[in-house]
Symmetry: D2
Subunit: 360 residues, 4 copies
């Protein structure tokens, strides 16, 4: 594989029209593997069980991801106290180690703060961000992501701090089509982020594939209306949430321990990847609920455009073709695209509804 | 931790009334991680990516499993040709390495053959089994499991071969309440297996938690009626299959790439563990679809009986208690047992049915 | 139309191989029209609003029914006190008046008593039946039906009393495949009823089309095993109840004011009619939930066998053919059998489950 | 009862703040009774089987309706040719005969034409309307309704013609929140209708209770914004249609022969009546799918406001109270408001989805 130094940067890739495949969700995936605790959702596993984190990075790399995002979600003074700096440094090393085994970049990520909700003190919030960025700078990550922001204002502050590093900045908000907490529309959010300096904008988390793409469409239209240009990025949930309200999946009664029936199939994700591509989004990944095979589904759907298959496709027959040698003819009959594209999968739960009402 | 030599054997544990927690499914879990190919479902990952297999063993151990089953499913001359012996040996080493990090035993497993279906030639089938057992004997596994048999006759042959090793033998069939392919009832199957020398009998795979326990009840009744004694073992799917027919989940239209909406929650598995325990089953684990957190759910539900919590419970608040500090009061309100026990999780798929008709 | 005197009797029809189409449900249909009170379910409307009852008879006649059952359900001393005799006499007159407008017979019906449940005193129960039969004899109904019995013993008493009249006797129980309240199997029930003198046996009410036919199959097998012959009759609910327990639909949480989503379509009923016919049932009608168009569906499905269409088919295009002139092409496309046979109709209720757990 | 002459007119009632309860659907109800043919949906039953129509009027009157709408839907030269005049005259007589038995008014109704869709020739369309109004004038109906219009323009023409009669005019369109076929919003439609002379405006048919009320809210807001005043009227479907598109229920795959699972319960309609009332709507009735017991549900829900119960409530225990003497305690437990208000009724159809995709 090519030496890290030889890799094209994130903007180079996007500007040349390449599709960048993001990685998937660490928190919920590692919670199910027994390493992250639901509730606080902090990434201390990075120092406690680095192998488990490295293994997941490796799986996303094999699945075709071009980005290894440092597992530093909520890893700040605020939540991890004195531990935070070691966690962040270790997360950078883990991401880099795996990224160097393939064609992937390392992205350092910061997210919204509790301070902001308390008093929205710009100086204090930015100080918290700056401390985190220092580690990323020292570890020389390839670019930076401000993600999971419910307020455009705080996301703008984050972008401003990240820009100070001189590295490319992506910014994604965890909002739906109704906009941010202060009713700033997706289009307006996108405009603010680009004006603040983000080269890549979009959404991550909180909403499933269908709704996330609706929000992306609004962001795109907002940018066009304002005459601005930016690369588009989407990292949706791996769960279907047609019934969620403005707050997204956390308000659904199934969050976070009963979401299984909502899990997207690989075919749902191929559809999502295609629709995102058709919308003009070129940085396509996932967030909570996105397992490695979901990322592979993005890479497989867009293999014609990218010109290659991800390593993990060695263990995957396209559109179920691996079933074509099954002894039962009715299972062999499933080894084709039409079958899986049209399947309406049953829940096996006849006593359960198909939609829920969000709490609030 | 105690040295391996000091560990109690499988029969010692069961005879003293201990609950033995089995491990979960390797094939489907590693398929989703990008290492196993659906269709043939062979375990060559054991030599190709041993770290990925070791990591999964480790997760099951942390989740509370007392058994590390060698990942040797279908690993015979028949399917893997010359490679099979290396795969089996490596699988034994991987299982042992992790087992020695905790209180777990290593179990070598064999399963049904294609030869049997073709001509049911006892000598040929037994020869295939014997080759596999030689490796297990050389690697000194702690006990042996004959699993995933659709025909009682072939399962009996397997038990006969395994008994030759002098090690304790468990035998599980992948049948439902309607019995095996030749209409041998579950009760009759159990009787045959015990008479052939199995100390532990039960079911694995093909059927979800509810149906698997129905079959276990019939096995138990069959043994009682015959005046026989044996330890009971259940390793169900991690998918709900109330709608499957005699052939189990492979005949459902969702198999194997659209099963997501059927995935059991951790609460479903706690219920399964409790019901299995109440039925007198003391070896309780999982098969396809059982992820590490499902195994942890067994270990947590039966923690009062076992007297301890599994290591991975450090990252899990009991009955959702980790949510009790959430900023949203309606999410804090989910931090209690009644909430999760009574949740009827929505699929988020209003255009899909809740049950399917099996193909055949 | 032919004079009443010229009509073939019920046994003549069945013995010559004719299909007899029964009528539908009066209680629930007239409850929805505002004339019957749920709870006691008594037929005083017969004297209070005879036009409403006559109209419903007329609708069933037009739909193709060959039997006008007197609306005398629960019309005994027990429930209606002194009023009962007038109600019964009026019900006979109403049924006869409509029957004489077409090719229909009048059947007088009696059903299970509260006395039986209290102390099962044969003399008292039979006295109650005898009083009712006196009215039917005086009004010269064409045949008699003992229906809606949960206990074979009481049904046998009813048949014995009805036989005293010298008229043909049909007997239907409201049981499912699990048998009567004392665990008498459907096969045994059928045998007892035939031995007591019933010429026609079967089931009515409490269970939907699918389950009712399962019970009929068991009755048929019971009679065959006993070497007995009888005509078979089925009058199922017009509601789907795959989830009901031994007690039938009354135990479902939706009974009686939330059953709407379970209502059978006309196509469901055509399937039921065909399956009943194929099973050898020749008296095919409905009970609660069967509206006139459901009876028409029976008559239309079996029109080839009967050789004629019911009058109300003048207002019904076969298999939706009336849609073939619609201005919207996608609605015209529904004017064909395949469309309606394969439709999986949505409930429009995504927050509701598809099955319920029966209360008890 | 009071002589017809003494009855308060429709505007008098609404202006004094009274709730006016409309009647329900004739087409689908009489189709199920065997008198109307789906497809053309014409009302020739009025002359062919007047008793059947009179009976249905009577049921709506007993249920509490204050309006007997003449069953003249589509009864114009266009569809019924020479027959139309007799049908319309007979329909007026039938409605009057029943209206005079209670406190109900007679309303003559006209609806959209096929001519309009072909060439929107105002003169021809108005001529068709005028011919119909002549009959209504001769028969001296109490007021007139223009209903089931998809285009605001044609509805305005209808109102203009109806106004010529000097009688009060109501106008309802069969549109949803997205507006009419030319994208005229509900608010704009309402404004146009009022400006054309309608005293009462609203929606009827095509959409279920929930969506119809959303449209009403938009109409109300449109009128308020324009500083106009009018009485509001809603006559929704008796079917749930959350999944329909702009065309309403006719585009749903279940239309018209598989709508059963969507049928509203009486409790759904009580909720609808209360919400309509709270929104300020005072003329509340139903359209297709509204059976007499649905109208009774409106009258019962608003009995406190109206000060009396409808006659058919003699046969209805409020909130299921008629079940309080049932022998089974779990059925007695259903005799209360909380039970029925919170019931989530199952469809009994686990192989069906809960929502459909509209055709088009």
């Amino acid at each position: 594989m090519a030496p890290a130094g030889a890799k094209k940067g994130i903007l180079e890739r996007l500007e040349s029209g390449e599709v960048v495949v993001g990685d998937g969700g660490f928190l919920i995936t590692l919670e199910k593997r027994g390493y992250v605790k639901a509730g606080l959702w902090t990434p201390e596993v990075v120092v406690e069980h680095p192998d488990a984190v490295g293994q997941l990075h490796m799986e996303f790399l094999r699945a075709g991801a071009n980005v290894m995002q440092t597992f530093t979600f909520s890893a700040s003074e605020e939540k991890l106290e004195s531990k935070w700096k070691d966690v962040n440094a270790a997360a950078c090393d883990l991401a880099r180690e795996v990224a160097d085994k393939g064609d992937a970049l390392v992205a350092g990520g910061i997210c919204q703060t509790a301070i902001y909700k308390q008093d929205a003190d710009e100086a204090r919030v930015k100080r918290l961000f700056r401390l985190q960025v220092e580690v990323f700078a020292r570890k020389n990550v390839d670019f930076l992501i401000a993600e999971y922001f419910e307020h455009a204002e705080e996301a703008v502050w984050a972008v401003e701090v990240l820009k100070e590093s001189g590295k490319p900045v992506a910014a994604t908000m965890c909002i739906g089509p109704e906009g941010d907490k202060n009713d700033v529309t997706p289009g307006e959010c996108a405009v603010k982020l680009v004006k603040a300096g983000a080269s890549i904008v979009g959404v991550n988390c909180r909403f499933g594939p269908g709704i996330s793409l609706k929000t992306m469409k609004l962001m795109k239209e907002g940018l066009q209306a304002a005459g601005l240009k930016a690369h588009l990025m989407v990292q949706s949930l791996g769960f279907h949430t047609p019934d969620c309200g403005k707050g997204g999946f956390v308000d659904l009664p199934e969050y976070p321990f009963g979401l299984e029936p909502r899990t997207a199939t690989r075919w749902d994700i191929q559809k999502y990847a295609r629709e995102a591509y058709n919308l003009g989004v070129r940085y396509i990944g996932g967030c909570c609920g996105f397992e490695p095979y979901h990322i592979r589904a993005i890479a497989e759907e867009l293999a014609p455009e990218r010109g290659f298959w991800p390593p993990a496709s060695d263990k995957h027959g396209i559109w179920g073709s691996g079933l074509n040698m099954h002894t039962k003819p009715w299972i062999r009959a499933r080894a084709r695209r039409e079958y899986w594209e049209n399947l309406l999968p049953a829940s096996g739960r006849p006593f359960c509804p198909s939609l829920s009402k969000p709490d609030s």
